[in-house]
Structures are given as C-alpha cells and as structure tokens.
Symmetry: C2
Subunit: 218 residues, 2 copies
C-alpha cells in the first residue's frame, strides 16, 4: 500500500506499489536487511526471512540489541534487494544499476505461539530451499525455544525497480563510447556434500524459483 512514508521520493518513476511486485521480490530474494534504532543509532543487519501471505517472518539473527528493544514494539524497516545488472551509459552521469527492491515498514512483534513459530520456521526453510523441511530433522522443544522469530505485516510496503538499457542524453547517443548492460544474477554451484548420501534434487538442481503463492499449512 502506498503511504506518505513509502512513496518513492527520488526517481518516482521507479516506484511500484502493487503487492504482486512486492511479493515477487520478497519471494525471490534470499536475505533481507533489517533496519532498527538502538540508543539513537541505526543498525542494518542481514537476516533470513520468508513471506507468508500478508506476513513477513524474520529469523532470529537480528542480534541482541534488537531483541532487547522488542518488548517495546520496535519500528523496523525491512529491505530486500535483487541486483539484475550494471548499466553502462555513454556518460558517467547516467551509469546505473538494474535492480528490484522491496521495502517494508512496520512494527515487529515476536512470535511466541508454538504452532505459529513452527509454521514460521517451516516458511523460512522452504523459502530458501523448497522441499527441504520434510527431509531434515524437525526442531525439538529446546530448539524452538532457542529460536527467535519476529513478524511484521506487509500493509506498508513498496517496491522500486529499474530495468532496461542506459538512458543517455540525446546529444550523447552518437559518442564513440560502448554502452549497454552487463546482466547479473545470483547463481548456484555444484553442492559440496557433508556426507555420502544421495544429493537431493533441490540441492543438485538448485534454482531460485520464486514461490508464487502462500505456503500451504502443514
């Protein structure tokens, strides 16, 4: 939803507010960066997460500073960015990057209900490697207790997208300078096994296929 706080101020033509775009970015990215304030100082911490419908689950590595603040209901900003390419224009000034970025503002709360926590952990694992949850050993009660999951709603979210080639000034188009895009993507390499069991397909042929829909309930 577009609010005053989520309206893209710089390059407003890159602002995208439909939820489908936001969801697609959140579902494809593997990590987000969480911003929060502690004693007046902003911190930005890379974190594993998952989207589940209208909810974002954040896995408990935001660090103790954040957790100590949680009981007060902490304002956070969650940003997930996919880098799609380097844009080389004829002029230095118009050099850019192609990217898709989703930004979520909201107040985080801790997930304490056992069933919701388990569901959140499953969402996070399946977000990263679809099909993995059922294969791995399930969490014990102690492991559940030792995991912190935060949740934040998606009602104040927006996206910013840049795509396509360089946008040079008309007077520069005939300059003797190569221009174009170097596409980039995050890709997998051959799995490095830690035991001698058969490598599952989701590891052997890992691909960042975005989850298109809400994860089914267990």
């Amino acid at each position: 939803m577009q609010t005053a706080r989520t309206t893209v101020k710089r390059h407003p033509e890159r602002g995208v507010y439909d939820r489908a775009t936001v969801d697609a970015i959140l579902d494809e990215a593997l990590i987000c960066h969480i911003g929060f304030v502690y004693e007046g100082q902003p911190y930005v911490i890379p974190t594993i997460y998952a989207r589940d419908g209208e909810t974002l689950y954040l896995h408990g590595s935001p660090g103790s500073r954040m957790l100590r603040n949680l009981k007060h209901g902490i304002d956070i900003c969650v940003t997930a960015t996919l880098l799609d390419g380097l844009v080389l224009a004829r002029s230095v000034y118009h050099h850019s990057m192609n990217y898709r970025s989703a930004i979520v503002l909201g107040r985080a709360r801790e997930v304490t209900d056992r069933a919701e926590k388990l569901h959140a952990m499953r969402s996070v694992v399946e977000h990263v490697v679809r099909g993995r949850w059922d294969d791995a050993r399930q969490p014990s009660q102690g492991e559940l207790d030792g995991t912190t999951i935060l949740t934040v709603g998606l009602d104040e979210a927006s996206a910013k997208v840049r795509s396509g080639g360089p946008k040079d000034d008309a007077r520069d188009l005939d300059l003797d300078v190569w221009a174009g895009v170097i596409p980039l993507s995050l890709g997998p390499h051959a799995p490095v096994a830690d035991n001698d069991l058969p490598v599952p397909a989701y590891a052997e042929q890992y691909a960042r296929t975005p989850r298109s829909a809400t994860l089914q309930d267990e």
Copy 2:
C-alpha cells in the same frame, strides 16, 4: 576498529574486526544498504558506493528524506553483504547461510568540494566496473551539481563471516539426511549492447575482482 557498538553480540565467533577483512568485503560487494532514521522511523535503502582507503563514498540515491537530514550530520549504518552459500544441516535448527558482511557506523557528511566530488564519482564507477571511468563521457558541471555524494569514515567498522559446512549436533551426524552446502555467487551474463561499438574487455569478461588497494588519484 572494535568498539562496544560494533562488537558482534550474536554468534560472537563470527565477528571479525581486522580492517583487511572489512575492506575485502566492501571492495567486492556492489551495493550496500544504508540505514538512517527519519522522524523516528528507520529506513534502509540500497545504494551504490565505493571504498577509497579510510573513506566510504555513498552515491546519492539515499532519497530525499536522508538528504533533508544531512545538514544536521546524520548517523548512518552502512551494511554490505555477500551471500556465499546455503548451509543444509541434518537438523532444521542448524540450517544457515555462508556470508560475509561488513558494517560501518558513522556520521555522514556531504562532499561539496569539486575535486573531491569528482574523485568520489570516479571511485564509485571504478568500484563497479574497473576501467570504465576513462572511457565514458566525463561529468559536466551541471551533472556534478546534480549528484550527491556522502562520505563516512571507516574507523567504526566490523565484519561478520560464516563459512564452511553444516555444524550439526554430534548425535545427528548419522541421521539419514543429506547435508552440505550449495555455494552461491553473483555472476555476469553476456553483455546486452546499446550500440554497435566493440564491447570492451571489462564488459565482455566482467568479473568481480576486488580492488586490492586505494584507487590512484587522477
């Protein structure tokens, strides 16, 4: 430098405080995420940047909210993260990611000196595509004026690194669950040209070779 604010609280064994590690991460990553506070709300914005010795230059896409705050001397957190792999443990609980993350805390100031601004823009372009600066049309005075560069020192920086295979509990090692790492890297694809000029080597064979030293002055 390790300070109370940069000491890694969670997984302290992953904290790295030597500048060589921090510098290598900053030099390899293409974008950072800048955190700042506006009207009590944290924001996290993906941004292009470059390291130049003891200095980080941040290119002017942090958005107008940040710029409006700048004259007060804004506290920021700059985080650059490289995702190196997905760690699939035998237990759900020990699933993780391999990554290298650098975090810089400091107070940003705007670069206003013309020569420093030009140097910063060159640093940023060369950080992204080494060799590109000299090929492209140089910035006009109007383009320099239209570019905002922030700078922050590196005296309060730290890194967090996770590498290697899964670290399962001893009692789980013989479980019938495949375990290992799916390595990941951000890689280039064939350039998409915007004109018919010969493709320069830095685009044709683009590789994320970290800059090992301070960029030479022009």
